[in-house]
Subunit: 368 residues, 2 copies
């Protein structure tokens, strides 16, 4: 393989991966039905329950990236003609709506301008207008850096008889998330954000209520690859072959989750909170404008417009070429003028952050 | 991570992974839009074209296992109401038919008993009865060890105006396969068979004719995650973000394909042929019954009934527990009485095969 440059990853994901996780992936591959491997799967399931703070039996890692988890959540729950209320506040809300439409659902989008949180009252109004099979929302919108008022929206959805689907791709293990306590029915994530595992798997959990809705569907799930009922027969006690599990990626996830457990979820949330706030105050000091509404800012993903109308692309390229530091460019409404800076998992360390800030000072000093 | 037992993998996949491929996965993760990474993607695309023997521009690795590739092939080509003729000669043919039905297609199954090759005349009769959008067939049926008469079936399909979809999960880099020369429109594989890369990706290629059929669809592709038109914008020159590529798995695939190129495709096919024939003749000598029809036996996957009605499960467990050797159990019509022995990629080495045969002799000597 060609030599790869050294990078420190402060983009919207992937984040830096711990050496022990990289080492886990280099272990020899064993069979996906080997007793030693299925024992490891059981441990992954248990650690995922701890990370999601759930007792859901159906909790596993889907064999695809976070977007596969998104599609798995929707394609299993939605039948053609079902109504879905989707909170749209950025790229990933738009993606939820698009996938729900492809599932044949009638989609009601509840939209807000980029950078704003979704208004729970609007979700409620949409549900009162017409009942819905589900409400889907992105917890941590990676395109804007906004933390959505998930707890309140989930409560409203449940009160109105809708299932609650939550995208926790960027939130899991980075900010507080309580699947059972908040009444979430399906919650999925990605491995390459605050879990600091390489991209390729999507941790996902289904409540008994969600599984009952799937069991009583009138039509087959449109996707075979993402059919949770079949996949559950492999992850559960039956061990019925569905597709070959991505062995090495599951080694990596096992080790990544072990590190989360070793640190403790609350300590990990606090680390992200403290360093995220520090980053944001430093950026403001440098003349950046934070684009997420105050009170709803994610610590692990900061969208910030560059000072003085600087060319974000040129400055970002300098960070990469001269300092080996990756940050993300703005998307959609923020394209061309903003960065998205991730502080996730192993990238969220004080010494790395200090190097980032030093590099940003240099690059911005020249660019403004 | 817990210590894993040492295994030599002679099951139906995964196969043993070369040390340099394991090492590639332990490299630090860089961003999926990093210029260094997209350069590596270009190289993967080029090496996949060599492995598939195709000039198809749309050639890449789908972010899921071989079954995701199967679903990607069908969900992009089929619209509700389309007719699909599917060759069914084992588990993977059945899976093709099931996925095609979930895509809304009207499926005509052309079936043969387990162990037999599909009869091209039956495919032709089905196509003459009523035109079809596509013919789908498994090249190397992993559940029976049969090599299907692909070249002839592809020719018949094309002559009758149908697109040709081929499952090459177990055949790619193990037996001759010529995507362009044989007129195949979509061909997908898996990484964990004759490529000897861990499971998790699905190499796939689409002909210009297939892409034109997709471009002129009347309805959107039902799957967003597997929408080849969108994915192509990331793998192609535009580099538009679709989903985060599975970075570490793509490192592994890059190295696995480099090893294929270093050995040479023809030498690799010959290695599989020679050792597969040797295994099969030794098994017959031990009293096994080969279950695939003569003349259609795959060298890289042998389905064989145990001598004297021995309990396959107990004997297989002894191989695993006492020798650290994995073979697969029979499926479907072969369950309970047969093994499936894979000789794929790095597992297909004379010294490993000799150890396998020695262990089989010991276990069978006791079991009969």
């Amino acid at each position: 393989m060609p030599t790869l440059p050294e990078r420190t990853l402060f983009g919207p994901g992937p984040s830096d991966v711990a050496p022990s996780v990289l080492e886990a992936m280099s272990r020899p591959v064993i069979g996906h039905l080997d007793p030693a491997f299925v024992g490891l799967l059981d441990e992954v399931g248990g650690m995922l329950r701890e990370a999601f703070v759930t007792r859901n039996e159906v909790t596993f890692a889907a064999s695809g990236t976070g977007s596969a988890g998104m599609e798995m959540a929707l394609v299993n729950l939605l039948s053609p003609g079902d109504r879905a209320v989707v909170g749209v506040a950025g790229v990933f809300g738009e993606r939820l709506a698009e996938i729900a439409r492809r599932c044949g659902a009638e989609v009601a989008e509840v939209s807000v301008p980029w950078g704003d949180p979704i208004d729970p009252a609007q979700i409620e109004a949409s549900l009162r207008g017409s009942p819905a099979k589900l409400v889907a929302i992105v917890h941590a919108e990676t395109s804007t850096g906004v933390r959505q008022p998930l707890e309140e929206i989930a409560r409203i959805a449940r009160e109105n008889g809708a299932l609650v689907v939550v995208d926790a791709v960027t939130s899991l293990a980075g900010i507080p998330l309580f699947v059972d306590e908040w009444g979430i029915d399906v919650c999925y994530s990605g491995t390459q954000k605050c879990l600091s595992v390489p991209p390729g798997l999507s941790p996902i959990t289904f409540s008994p209520r969600a599984m009952e809705a799937i069991r009583t569907r009138a039509t087959p799930v449109r996707s075979w690859y993402l059919d949770v009922t079949m996949i559950t027969r492999y992850w559960g006690a039956e061990r019925v072959y569905h597709h070959t599990a991505p062995i090495s990626m599951l080694y990596a996830l096992h080790e990544g989750l072990r590190l989360v457990g070793e640190e403790g979820l609350e300590a990990r949330w606090e680390r992200h909170r403290a360093l995220g706030e520090y980053l944001q105050s430093e950026l403001v000091g440098l003349g950046f404008e934070l684009l997420a509404a105050e009170g709803f800012r994610l610590p692990q993903l900061t969208a910030a417009a560059l000072p003085g109308g600087a060319d974000e692309r040129a400055a970002r390229k300098r960070l990469l070429d001269e300092f080996g530091i990756e940050v993300g460019g703005g998307l959609g409404a923020f394209a061309g003028r903003a960065w998205r800076i991730g502080l996730m998992g192993e990238s969220c360390r004080k010494e790395k952050l200090d190097r980032l800030l030093e590099a940003v000072r240099t690059v911005i000093g020249h660019a403004v």
